[in-house]
């Protein structure tokens, strides 16, 4: 299996629900807690696994605002796995999820240096690197209703801009969406083969350029016989 996410840039409104759902689930999840430094102080800074960055594409007045949620891409050729000296960082063979074993990480930061996407952050409290686990502690939990065996971010997204599935299955929704909407990798030129796929914004619905009647005002409103 090649598990990952599809993120739809056409419908993401940048609400941060996915970022906070992730924070909330994972702080009591398998790699928790996700600590917060100076939570009520100056420059609060905590450990988050998913961040939403907002860009403006194009120049005024033609600019488009694009919200780009970014979390671990669970790359096929994950450099973060290659560089890790302790073996804490690894990619599961069964499903491709890239994880950090919290018992083994020594907090050398090298994996963060290797990751182009900023997917890994050092947790100040534990001294270990934390990153998206693709909610491995949800997706296989048979005690959860089947519809809830999904990453927290996917479940919560109010615009359904996140989809979870198996990219190895050509009939899965993630595979179909990537094919049909032209899903993209970020920074593909670095060769990490990220699995998460971003669907580009769709072209605005092309409306017929309706011609204004050449004889303006000829079609006058008149009283028609209409019964109440």
């Amino acid at each position: 299996m090649k598990l990952g996410l599809v993120i739809d840039l056409d419908t993401c409104v940048g609400c941060h629900a996915c970022a906070t759902a992730c924070k909330q689930w994972n702080t009591s999840g398998t790699i928790g807690p996700l600590s917060d430094e100076r939570p009520h102080g100056k420059d609060p800074s905590g450990s988050w696994l998913n961040r939403i960055r907002t860009y403006e594409v194009g120049d005024s007045p033609h600019s488009k605002t694009v919200h780009m949620p970014m979390s671990c891409m669970h790359c096929e050729d994950a450099a973060c796995v290659t560089v890790c000296p302790t073996g804490a960082s690894y990619k599961r063979e069964e499903d491709g999820i890239v994880l950090v074993d919290q018992d083994k990480c020594m907090g050398c930061n090298l994996c963060a240096w290797a990751c182009p996407y900023g997917a890994r952050e050092l947790d100040t409290d534990s001294g270990t690197m934390k990153k998206c686990t693709l909610c491995v502690d949800r997706i296989y939990d048979l005690e959860l209703p089947e519809a809830e065996r999904q990453p927290a971010c996917v479940m919560t997204c109010p615009t359904s801009s996140r989809v979870f599935g198996d990219f190895d299955d050509p009939d899965s929704e993630v595979s179909k969406l990537t094919r049909e909407r032209g899903g993209q990798q970020l920074l593909p030129e670095l060769g990490y083969n990220p699995v998460n796929s971003y669907l580009p914004p769709r072209n605005p619905k092309q409306q017929e350029k309706l011609k204004v009647s050449a004889l303006q005002g000829v079609k006058q409103l008149v009283n028609r016989l209409i019964n109440r």
Binding site: L110, G118, S126
Partner: protein, 308 residues
């Protein structure tokens, strides 16, 4: 990149240590070291391994969770840091054997010396590959980085070899000239490196986000205070400041030592070489600092940088 002081110390001191050991071992295989007293050779060996040890200890200060540091040998298969750890540790028993060979005048001394040279160089290479293997940092991802790394180590190690050696023994101008030549080559490589890095190339904010047909600007990073990523990768030095620091670095790491070495060659006292070595070490610390400060990780693109 945020220059971590512990890492700067690590690379410069252990580099000098490996370099010194390499010169000692190379000297042995080429018939020079034997002209030094065994005591002097051992002193050099101990200084070399002491520097290496200080460096390695310093590097563990960089760890946020050092209790797992012992695990860093386990991924030799893929991780340059793991390899560096294995080789660095392996050098201890090997260098101990070499030391024993010096002390007890074993026949195998040449072989052991040669092996020490090779292992020292491999360790240097592995260390530099930790940085050079990262595709995310254009300034590091070049063969020039390991080349320069080894060159610094051999330069500073060599200058140390000569300083210590000439403290107790007469100056050998041939070796001095080899060292001068090595430092000059290192300087030349460094200048080529500066030229190469100056050419803008590689990923941009547009290729990073996939919007290549229009300008792309960051409107909001998703957090109004800095995060781990900002602290680790957001380090920024003004362009004119960087230029001044580079000039300073070249002066202190290369020009001043070269000048002093020439002066010794012309007849000045050998003690001047110690000053030259201290200057070079200071310069190399600055060079390491610049190595990090100039490094622009591609994650900066997502934080609004147009190119790295």
């Amino acid at each position: 990149m945020h220059p971590a002081f512990s890492v700067l110390i690590f690379t410069v001191t252990s580099g000098a240590g490996y370099g010194l050991l390499a010169w000692l071992g190379l000297g042995q295989t080429l018939g020079y070291s034997q002209t030094l007293t065994p005591e002097l050779q051992l002193i050099m060996g101990v200084i070399a391994m002491a520097l290496v040890s200080v460096g390695l200890l310093s590097s563990t200060l960089h760890l946020a969770n050092p209790k797992n540091a012992w695990r860093s040998f386990s991924r030799f298969r893929t991780s340059w840091l793991s390899r560096e750890a294995v080789f660095a540790i392996a050098l201890y028993p090997l260098s101990a054997l070499y030391a024993a060979a010096i002390f007890w005048q074993w026949n195998s001394i040449n072989v052991l010396a040669g092996l020490c040279v090779v292992l020292a160089l491999i360790t240097l290479f592995s260390t530099s590959m930790i940085y050079a293997s990262l595709k995310t940092i254009r300034q590091w991802h070049t063969p020039m980085v390991p080349a320069l790394f080894m060159a610094y180590a051999l330069s500073s190690g060599g200058l140390l070899f000569l300083s210590v050696g000439y403290f107790f023994a007469p100056i050998n101008n041939q070796l001095l000239n080899i060292c001068i030549g090595l430092v000059l080559i290192t300087l030349a490589l460094k200048l080529v490196y500066f030229f190469w890095q100056g050419k803008p190339q590689g990923a941009t904010l547009q290729t990073a986000t996939g919007f290549t047909q229009a300008s792309v600007r960051l409107l909001d990073a998703g957090h109004s205070a800095p995060t781990f990523l900002n602290r680790e990768f957001g380090y920024q030095v003004a362009a004119d400041q960087l230029l001044r620091l580079r000039v300073l670095m070249v002066l202190v790491a290369f020009i001043v030592p070269l000048g002093l070495m020439f002066w010794v060659e012309q007849g000045a006292t050998a003690n001047v070489l110690v000053v030259a070595w201290l200057a070079m070490m200071t310069g190399l610390l600055l060079e390491r600092w610049l190595f990090f400060a100039e490094a622009r990780h591609v994650v900066r693109l997502f934080h609004g940088e147009q190119r790295c």
